[in-house]
Amino acid sequence: MLYREAGDFKTSYHADNQTFPIKFDRIGFWITMVIAFLVIPFMINDYWANAIFVPFLIYAIAAIGLNILTGYCGQVSLGTGGFMAVGAYACYKLMTAFPDVSIVIHIILAGGITAAVGAAFGLPSLRIKGFYLAVATLAAQFFLVWLFNKVSWFYNYSASGQINAPERFVAGVAVTGPNTDPWAQYMICLVFLTVCALIARNLTRGTIGRSWMAIRDMDIAAEIIGVNPLKAKLTAFAVSSFFIGISGALFFAVYLGAVEVGEAFGIQKSFLVLFMIIIGGLGSIFGCFAGAAFLVLLPVALKVIGVDVLGWPTDLVSHLNLVIVGALIMFFLIKEPHGLAQLWRLAKEKLRLWPFPY
């Protein structure tokens, strides 16, 4: 009876438009924020940051980006890894070319550069749809990875072909480089994720979000109602790539520190982020968090249970991980295409009347 919509009346459209219309959700949101900003940074250690929190935060940003494109605008993309690579290399080039400028600005600029690249690769979407577009974005993925491997200007002619993040500071605290504290890594990712999620939420509930969804659901009707399909699709590609670029920059600069493009931003990364939004829920910001958390936690949880508790061999557990992810993808695609977010929504509808449904 704690969680309920009944009796929670709205007296203005302002109140009806808010992100969490239900009081219990609002309280939950603020508690989560307090824990995320004020509790976890003081408790976090190297293992938790590197195994769980930092990848979760970064993948959540990438998932938000892809979800805007695929979940909201209906344009399937398999180029996520490639666009993350654009963000990473843009950030690297900016960091080395302008060492005096704040890393925060570099990361945002990297997002902007990725947005431009994404919009350019989004141009085919005006002509082709569905699987064909997916293949076109797949071409972007392979082309971009090839480009960053082949053109040595992108990795400043280093012998190894890798890019390494130099040490950078935000407000006197190192956030990149080998001497970074786990809490600093965590905090910069958390701040970026919070801002990205808010922006994504605002965009998707307003005019532009509705024109994206209109294009997704029925493009002919969208056009007749006044949606310019060119503008809607390209803004979706640009905004989506902006977030993905930011996640790529953070992935490189804050999380890994050193990157070899084929390994870090290969096709597997594209699929991983796609799986996150499928499992989490297409067309839902909450789904991005749920999917990212799920796919980051699953291998960790399996390792703890399988290797540490049951004493199974490591390779068996890692293979088991693949099997489970594959089975889950099939399960969600067949049974619940809207993913964990839809399950949560259904649970809410049940709870509305619980425990007296009649």
Binding site: S12, Y13, H14, D16, N17, I199, N202, L203, R205, G206, T207, I208, R210, S211, M213, A214, R216, D217, M218, I220, A221, A222, E223, I224, I225, G226, V227, N228, P229, T235, V239, G283
Partner: protein, 272 residues
């Protein structure tokens, strides 16, 4: 028939103004097929104009020409006294022409409210940055447009379903939501492609009432395609009849009813 362009008042007290939309000698071809052959027709401000004809007569093609899906090979489209150059459908929407579809074209994954709000798109101007920040201009605009939308939702009596995803609604309600979405654009000209297809008598009565009310209260000019002759004759001020891409009759319902060619087209004619 020569149209008078002076405004006049109908028996039920509505004022019919000058010519709003004028289609002059429209010819539309698909390869060798002439879907519309040299048709001229006009739609006057404030009237309910019906387009009827047997299947394949070119009625929907005519509507598609008006709404910008097809650009005719020959002929001119004049809207509000200006010649309209070839346009994309979304540009036509900005001129103030809205439409519904024969087979419902709603955004199934969105709620009724979001669907109708999408209809307001041409009235919402805030840019992407303002929307990303949300507080301030974008939100004010959202609330102001929401008020307009709520009036239309009240008007069409779909308050109870405003937060329901459209995919879950029954057919009759979907038709009504689609009308709401078109109305939300506050169009100068509203095109309805078979608004009563597949409805039972009761639903048809409701829909007829809504169409009359829309015309009466908002003064919206309406052009509609419909197969139910009873409905067409009752609702419309003037009827144009098409057959095989040609115009075979144009006038008040009574004139059309007694037109020899129209009777032939509908009932068939004995060739001797």
């Amino acid at each position: 028939m020569k149209d008078t362009v002076e405004p006049y008042t109908t028996p039920d007290g509505r004022t019919i103004g000058g010519v709003l939309m004028d289609m002059r000698n429209i010819t539309l071809r698909f390869g060798g097929v002439e879907a519309i052959k040299d048709i001229s027709l006009n739609i006057r401000e404030g009237e309910i104009r019906a387009i009827i004809g047997p299947n394949g007569a070119g009625k929907s093609s005519m509507l598609n020409v008006i709404s910008g899906f097809y650009n005719p090979q020959e002929g001119e489209v004049w809207f509000r006294g200006e010649k309209r150059p070839p346009m994309k459908p979304y540009q036509v929407a900005r001129l103030g022409i809205a439409r519904t579809f024969q087979n419902i074209a709603l955004f199934e994954g969105m709620t009724v409210l979001d669907n109708v709000m999408t209809g307001r798109l041409t009235h919402m101007k805030s840019n992407m940055l303002a929307q990303a920040i949300w507080r301030g201009k974008a939100e004010q605009e959202e609330v102001a447009n929401r008020e307009v939308v709520e009036k239309i939702i009240d008007f069409l009596e779909i308050q109870a379903i405003r937060k329901t995803p459209v995919g879950r609604l029954p057919y009759g309600l979907k038709k009504r939501v689609e009308l709401a979405r078109a109305l939300a654009a506050e169009p100068k000209l509203l095109l309805l492609d078979e608004p009563m297809a597949g409805m039972n008598v009761e639903e048809k009565e409701d829909m007829s009432r809504f169409i009359l009310d829309v015309n009466d209260e908002f003064g919206t000019t309406i052009a509609l395609i419909e197969h139910d002759m009873g409905v067409v004759m009752d609702l419309s001020d003037r009827v144009v009849v098409m057959d095989y891409g040609r115009k075979i009759g144009d006038g008040t319902p009574d004139e059309v009813r007694n037109n020899e060619q129209v009777i032939d087209a509908y009932l068939g004619v004995a060739h001797d």
